[in-house]
């Protein structure tokens, strides 16, 4: 575990996007962190994979800063370091598989909006809808099996809860600029259990200090 005087810089665009879950994790971890919005694309060559988000863990002993990238990798690193992912390998893996499914849902969203022909657009919309339905079913079953407490696993805020919130703040708020229909499409499919998870994460004392560019997701759902 990193020492409690660790501090971080998160590099991303000034947008919700693929950095939101990391922002919430850093806030929930209670560590010192700031955000940078590098000039883009000028700063592309200066990032490890030419993309963002990037997490810099500032060195305290004169050695080079520790730099990692890839959104889900950044999330897992923060989550493992600060105890939001369990140490037990099986328990952690059961949470991680949800994030991989989420990655594919997001990927299908962006593929669909880039399609030009009506046929292609419809084909990928069907794929997106299908995978989202699978994801919602999986999430809802987990929430029900965990006593419908608004938590996917156990009785504390977890990595799985946060990355699930991170998905929905994009589908219901952040991605609207790319596709005006997405919010209503997804809102109509939310189950009461997922709505409760969203509220439970947003009102968790550890998450209180998180100020989302998108405002309250709970408010967006009730609107």
């Amino acid at each position: 575990m990193s020492p409690s005087n660790a501090s971080y810089t998160l590099r991303y665009f000034d947008a919700i996007g693929l950095a939101e879950s990391s922002r919430i994790l850093l806030t929930a971890a209670g560590v010192e962190w700031t955000e940078e919005h590098p000039e883009w694309p000028q700063e592309k060559p200066n990032q490890p994979h030419g993309r963002m988000p990037v997490l810099v863990e500032k060195s305290t002993d004169g050695s080079p800063d520790f730099v990692i990238c890839e959104s889900s990798n950044v999330e897992r690193y923060i989550a493992r370091t600060y105890g939001f992912l369990p140490a037990d390998l099986k328990q952690a893996a059961l949470q991680e598989q949800l994030r991989d499914l989420i990655s594919d849902v997001i990927s299908l969203f962006f593929t669909q909006i880039q399609c030009k022909g009506e046929e292609d657009k419809a084909e990928f919309q069907t794929k997106f809808d299908g995978l989202l339905e699978t994801l919602i079913n999986v999430q809802t079953k987990l929430l029900k099996d965990n006593g419908n407490t608004g938590r996917l696993f156990g009785d504390k805020l977890s990595y799985a809860d946060i990355i699930t919130y991170g998905l929905y703040i994009n589908l219901l708020v952040g991605f609207v600029k790319f596709n005006a229909d997405i919010a209503d499409n997804v809102k109509s499919k939310l189950t009461p259990e997922i709505v409760k998870l969203i509220s439970t994460v947003e009102t968790d004392p550890l998450v209180e200090k998180h100020k989302s560019r998108g405002g309250s997701l709970v408010a967006a759902i009730s609107a």
Binding site: P48, H49, G50, E57, F66, I68, C69, E70, S72, N73, R76, Y77, R80, T81, L89, K90, A93, L94, E96, Q97, D100, L101, S103, S107, T111, Q114, K116, G117, D120, T134, V138
Partner: protein
Amino acid sequence: MLSGSDTVYVLRYFDVIGRAEGCRLLLTAANASWTEEHPEWPAEKANQPFERLPVLVERSNGNEWILCESLTIERYLARVFGFMPTDLKQAALQEQMADQQADLLSAFFGQLTATGDMKSKQIDEFNTLFDRMVKEHGRILSRSSSKQHLFGDQLSYADISLYAFYKLFIVYLKCYQSDIAEIVKSKLTPEIINLILSIEKEPQLAPHFSKCDTMAAIFTAKDF
């Protein structure tokens, strides 16, 4: 090793290289007791937790545990069998390589299916990402003490993941795009080719090559 000697694994996937090769290589390198199942598809779709493959089934002491999603399965197996560093920073440096490779696979399918003026844009994006990734592999390799491994001097998750990735592009994806193997080969440096061929010579991976060809015959003198 964190699994008992009576633990057996079943990997469910299609009978292709696809997205399961990393899992196969890890189970082989671990010398785990494992078999592969090729479920009737789509008949068996509804019987999988995420209605997708691959799925890993772990059976131990009469209990059955199931895991989905190829990258999560890989990271889990890598940790169980000691191929992933226990240090979180070192693990993250290996995991991000696999995430980058997954992006490349998405970019491949993106440029494959794009039409009209999106096609050349997606092809450019794919090439840019691939070239950048090869440069990154080269950078890591240049800092490695052993040119036969990406990190340290033993077979690691990163090595296995890299091998599976290049095998996917050089051996498998031609079924989608006939020229992709040559395109990818032309991007590789002699150092990366040497790394690929060194990994497949690892004794722990020998059983894998009783079931399929090595890539040694694919790289001729003019590739180096």
